[in-house]
Subunit: 287 residues, 2 copies
């Protein structure tokens, strides 16, 4: 793999930012990586792991000679981080992110990016249940999709550079409009998380003659609800930042559940067979 850029700055050297740095270094796609993180111990660990070449206490100093800045922080902090470094970005600098919500971030970052620089929204579809730099590994993105959602300030060359970096990290790159991204991920990721949290909430607060019904749960329930152990603040922020799409997905789900309820209440044997069989076919189709 040949060099794509000389200098990369990674803001937020956690699981995603750290793995991105490791993957690009392993691929020989980047010469020098500066790490920036509000958590000093995380940052020092990143340096000692050889994940970055240099750490910067001051974010503005850290990005001042970067060709590409990758912002990998919680979704509600991405635009504020860009606001705090925008004055220090060198001419031609490309800023990209890894947030799992895109329309709001692209809109805010397009307004913040200085003239002559580019913002390219991104969302690598990868992760583990762990977080922090200690969990980072270079193969995290291998064979996974990375979605890029170009906006008003994404010039063709910037978009191409970011796409080549993700490809070098092992990801399959695809491009789509930010709002389209948000509607898709509302369905396949944000809705399932909302449903898992709601299920555990509903079952946990159910009053069945005063018994703790959760004590009867077995492996199936644990597996089904694993994603309800995710970080509540992260999911609060995603829910709020992708509000319109998520509300539409919740409404679609609610309508489907009401339809299932009608069929159960009406003893609609054929209707239930059809409902469950259709769902099973969808599920088996994604195996």
């Amino acid at each position: 793999m040949s060099l794509i850029i000389k200098r990369l700055a990674v803001i937020g050297t956690g699981l995603i930012g750290g793995s991105f740095a490791l993957a690009l270094r392993e691929a020989g796609a980047v010469e020098h990586i500066v790490g920036i993180d509000s958590d000093r111990s995380n940052l020092e660990l990143a340096l000692s792991m050889g994940l970055v070449d240099e750490i910067a206490e001051d974010a503005c100093a850290g990005v001042s000679s970067a060709e590409v800045v990758f912002i990998s922080v919680p979704v509600r902090s991405i635009a504020p981080v860009l606001a705090s470094i925008s004055a220090a970005l060198p001419p031609g600098c490309i800023v990209t992110d890894g947030g799992s919500v895109k329309a709001a971030i692209v809109r805010e970052c397009d307004a913040l990016i200085p003239p002559g620089c580019s913002f390219v929204g991104g969302h690598p579809i990868a992760g583990t249940e762990h977080s922090g730099v200690a969990a980072a590994f270079p193969g995290l993105f291998r064979g996974k999709r990375s979605v890029l959602t170009p906006g008003a300030t994404s010039d063709a060359q910037a978009l191409d550079t970011v796409a080549r970096l993700w490809a070098a990290a092992g990801a399959e790159v695809c491009r789509m409009e930010a709002g389209h991204h948000d509607r898709i991920f509302a369905e396949i990721s944000h809705l399932p998380h909302a449903i898992a949290y709601t299920l555990v909430h509903a079952v946990g607060t159910a009053d069945v003659e005063g018994e703790n019904v959760l004590s009867y749960t077995a492996g199936g329930f644990r597996d089904f609800t694993r994603i309800a152990s995710s970080d509540p603040v992260m999911w609060r922020d995603i829910s709020l930042m992708n509000k319109q799409a998520l509300l539409a997905s919740i409404d679609g789900f609610t309508a489907s559940l009401a339809e299932l309820r009608r069929r159960i209440e009406g003893d609609d044997c054929d209707g239930l067979t059809e409902f469950f069989t259709t769902a099973k076919k969808f599920r088996d189709g994604i195996l």
Copy 2:
């Protein structure tokens, strides 16, 4: 382990019935096991696996000298099976089942069991995603709960015998009223299945600018929806047989989802943190 009964008949030598036979044989709790199954090849496999000592083509002949009859067939067939053998049951015979719905089965079977015989409802909380006798193994119930729901025809000795058999199979036996069982399992098992099927149904039929959104799903969605690959007919029958409790559970879930929706729509940051944190605590508590 000492002998509990001499002669057992198992009707339905699939995963549950077959594993029950294997576990009791391994424990030395039963001397002779007769296998009965509408699927002839399944039955012959059970015999060749040494799971049963004898197979009976005719169910009435098969149960005629049994001390205990274990009916392990789909929930809607349990009462019909009992109806078909009741005239052939020897005096003092104990009939028990393994269905995951209890109130309707206990009510129907209590009405069908002949005088001098006992029906004891049962539900072993165990299973795998596989079915059929080939998937049976003696350790299936080890360390799992087995719920017994005695009814009007469960005399104390019959209940004790069934409890000792499940304990010999390695299960932790607990007793509860059939309706209470159904309300608990509506929450922790039937509702989650209904939700998983509904989620896949809703996402699979969602129209996001004509794209097949399921093609974007990754491991998380697959894990979360695994139970929507279960047998549609089995879940249709469970839904219908535990209708009242399941409808109540669906209503509880729908109310929780509406509450979450209100908090998202109202940008209720604290309310969302509280909702997700409460759910996460419930989930982490069952680890």
